[in-house]
Symmetry: D2
Subunit: 354 residues, 4 copies
């Protein structure tokens, strides 16, 4: 069903063919991506779902009319007619799944973080390159319309040389999770990793060189003794002089808040406003507007666009918009931030990458 | 493929089945709707496209991988496996197509205006009722997220009793069409018809009773002698006392502008802001933001939602969100507005409906 | 203290002199203007206050350190050292006071409406011209920063030829006044008169020619039988083809709402947003912002600017920014609107002015 | 003209009296403050102006009708009828002038920074306390309506416990000053000092404990060799766990940008939007709005309010809204930031204050 395009090492396929994709992981974000692929990605079909939790894959497959549901990921990877997989399993399992899928010759879309150590990141990148597959990472901000427009303005030189950048991620509150079940450093490895990628992507051509992090358990102070951190600020210095601040919280009572700002020699762009619709209400308490409460709502267009881009990269050899190297770069900032917390000092990224 | 549900007179179909739809009219808006049905409406398949212009249906069918393309609408209506049709032909052909499709037992989504005379509107409504089909009209504002949220706020009594309403439609400029090819009264029958429906829908339970219209050819003054009107304001009085102003222009240089405002005893809601994304640029000329330039961009979510609602009304017997009676009501306002222009005076709607 | 400038007929005064002004009327708006003149108008001193209500002038004079307080307006007009007066008495007394003050050689700033009949308007204008005094009318929107910037954009041709205009005034709610004490037609003569001036001023060079009005008692339906109207929409047609809609309500629960919009061949300007400050709050109920609840807060900058302009017109012979002729024009629209209500039809302004 | 209030150590004065103030320093900001006191502060009179530059005080005094102009500050301080002074001289002269004025028994409003060493700050505070005078520092953000509303929301517990704060100051571009004439560390001591105060003031009751700074010469890279810094980010940790980021640039091409954001356990407040008016223009290039280009325009209301508060503190013994201790606290952050730059590491504020 696919033929190798020798010149690029990637597979080419006739346009009239439908791409057969599978989802590995049927949790919250896996279900979101499965629904998008099943219904909103032209040229792609969701052919299989796997999840080790008994019943999880079946339920989702029934809802989406997907022919194959299994608890055994190998059953998916062994299928010759599956062209690619979306890895939406827990973060710690990502790298092994990327390597297994690549080795099986499947194209891979992997949710962030692709890896939580640089060694694993290198393994994933090497496996993908060796297999000649498309490897795309789920940094969804890049596909949000406002963020994409911000980057376009930067590319058009409207901002000039970036000097000050800001990116933030605040999960919606109230925070109801059990902190003891959240892996340590999650705020850096799974939340701020988005912002680390965003500031790199919005400062094109520059390399992050130094990091200073501050963090605390302000949402759940009682969990601090266990090493749980839910509030963090990371300052990142780039080799072109630009200074970025990134910021995360696990509980924004007003909703899901994802914003960016790039200030440069010629102007500024901002993206993100947290609004759910363009409706505004004026009442006895003043002016009111709704906020988005779920990432799957706030970032719906972004999730759809990134999965279409993945399909496009496979079918039309268009450039992969978020590579394994991008994931590795964001990870290096996260690791430097963790070291900054441990040492209570600023850290050169070279310290963690050498 | 369908079975009659005796209790409602509408057809019921098993959930696992895919609805087979056809598009009648492969022009600009027909192509837009065809693409949405083909790719973004779960449970529906685009099975056929017809357009009398040689090649038009074929080109679109090829792009969307649709099996049947024809210049003969009868070929579509004769197909037993087609469940419903989208009528996106020129406005003057709408009623005949609605009647023909209903008579053939097809569910009908018809673009506005459903009819341009009340007699035709009655014919269409009667044909649909006799055939027991779903008849839905393309008043898309109702499905735009901001407008839908405004209506929800009204339903929650946050606005209180509506007193002053506003709805406007401004097509994006510059105006490049040939005015002589635009049917007379188009600004009322095809443009403001949206706003007439919007203000009725945002004033639930009230009936429009009296109309005053002012109009001119300000965009193309040279075409005025031919009866071409491109700028209009229509004031509508409701039986609950509320006063609505509706406004249209054929050339908004800044983009596509669709907005509404409802002011009542307890507050106000507004919907629509004309922005393309949430990106804002700050440069030497101040603050700047992009506007939407095409309805298919500005109203993308609305077009998708209305076509999903159509599918849902057919498959799940959910209420038809925009009925033939809604279309007739908006048309009665348009006809009163036209009489108001002709007589240079305010007109009771009863004058045109009796 | 003043010398006549023969060439203009207006008085000139040395720059080092302080202008001596008096306030006639110590009610809500009179107190507001008195405070501004006493404290925030360079080159002017508040020298006297008169109000027929015993004690009213005294209380205000004490608070503002003004030497003369009286219940007898003649005492003010007889004073040779008073250069000008601010007339902030009830509307029906305006014309007589303008004529008396002009006859006494005092410059006049008169709150809107300058007159409620065209005959009175002509008397006021003639008295001012004969006396060679400055006569300025209190159309404050012209001095609000956003409105002034809108007019500047129009003057810079950024909007092109105005085609559709909107101006609205909504008094803050809840409405607590006794409707029986509000003179009939107040919504046209005292509220919408602002908007009538605004749309004329924002459509420079054009003349209003025809009016259609709709009005009702929606805030206090019980008072309708007494002829009380609290909600109105007036459509105005100009000789350059432009169509304006003006709108008023006596009870906007969310605050004081004063806005304008001008749409033209090259773009659109809007002014007014109802916000009190640039603070925004994001909480569990979404996004919130404060609104202004009083005109003296919302229009503070405008009130100050218009009184400075009045001083400037007297001291420096700068052009009078709002003339008696402007007041007469706005009044002619109000009178046509009243006739439109009475006759339930559109009315040519020539019918009321001939 | 003043009598000592023994209980507070501050002078009391009869309300009917006018406070006699003098301006020391007739440069840009001195002229701004002088105009405000001369014309817009009820109860205060500008009685004298001094500036060592020949002619500077005279020119300003003539424009504002001020009786005394001198190049010798002693002439002002020796005048028994002067109640207070505004110190708007260059920053390095502030402390000496505060001490001299306090010793002369004058109340003091001093522009930021009050001092550039902690020793000087202590001298100024001690001199003021010994003299029993009012000592107020020019942290104007506190008086900007949006910032004041933000603080009010915090005081009303709408934000909950502050967790993440942001304050930024960007001077308007293009940058045209000669970098060699700007004292080293100005970005911390004169620009960010505002933001240091803002984040302390918006985090009531908390104490800043640790600082990390990053800075560069990005606006004028050629001046970096001389130690000129024009772009900086400072992260501040508070003892209640909150983390603040403050940010400055010497050249925002789009105008003067002063904003703040406070995120807490219950919500978020933001203040500042950079707009000049509420006018919005929609044209062929999209949506546009004007920005403020001068602090004296953007912060006009704040400057007026702080000088009224100063007068009020003197005349009515109302609390001094910005004290010498507030200035010392902001200075301690600035000094820690400078040390952070020098050592390329995070710095405990205790290191610079012990």
């Amino acid at each position: 069903m696919t033929v190798t395009d020798v010149s690029t090492g990637r597979s080419a396929r006739p346009a009239s063919d439908t791409l057969q994709l599978a989802t590995i992981g049927a949790g919250r974000i896996g279900s979101n991506h499965a629904e998008i692929v099943a219904r909103h990605v032209p040229g792609a079909t969701l052919a299989a779902i796997s999840d080790p939790v008994p019943g999880a894959a079946e339920r989702l497959a029934t809802a989406l009319d997907v022919p194959l549901a299994t608890t055994d990921v190998a059953e998916v990877l062994d299928r010759a007619d599956i062209d690619g997989v979306l890895i939406t399993a827990p973060a710690r399992a990502h790298t092994d799944l990327v390597v297994a899928a690549a080795t099986a010759g499947k194209h891979v879309f992997v949710e962030k973080p692709m890896a939580v150590t640089l060694e694993d990141a290198d393994l994933a990148i090497a496996a993908a390159e060796e297999a000649g597959i498309v490897l795309q990472v789920g940094f969804n901000r890049r596909f949000a319309p406002g963020f994409a427009a911000a980057r376009a303005a930067i590319d058009e030189r409207k901002v000039g040389a970036p000097q000050l950048l800001r990116s933030l991620t605040r999960d919606p509150g109230p925070f109801t999770a059990d902190p003891s079940r959240i892996p340590q450093w999650t705020i850096f490895l799974e939340t701020l990793i988005h912002d680390f990628d965003t500031v790199c992507w919005l400062n094109p051509g520059a390399t992050p060189v130094r990091v200073h992090a501050t963090a605390d358990a302000l949402v759940r102070p009682d969990a601090k003794a266990d090493g749980h951190l839910d509030t963090a600020v990371v300052t990142i210095r780039f080799d072109n002089g630009a200074i970025a601040t990134t910021e995360a919280s696990f509980s924004a009572l007003y909703g899901y808040d994802v914003r960016a700002e790039v200030f440069g020699s010629e102007g500024m762009v901002t993206a993100g406003n947290g609004r759910r619709t363009d409706m505004t209400y004026y009442g006895a308490d003043g002016i009111q507007a709704d906020t988005a409460r779920r990432d799957t709502e706030l970032l719906r267009a972004a999730y759809t666009a990134e999965l279409r881009a993945f399909t496009d990269a496979i079918c039309n050899q268009s450039p992969v918009p978020v590579t394994g190297h991008d994931a590795r770069r964001a990870l290096s900032i996260a690791l430097a931030a963790i070291r900054s917390i441990k040492t209570a000092s600023a850290v050169d990224i070279a310290e963690v990458t050498k």
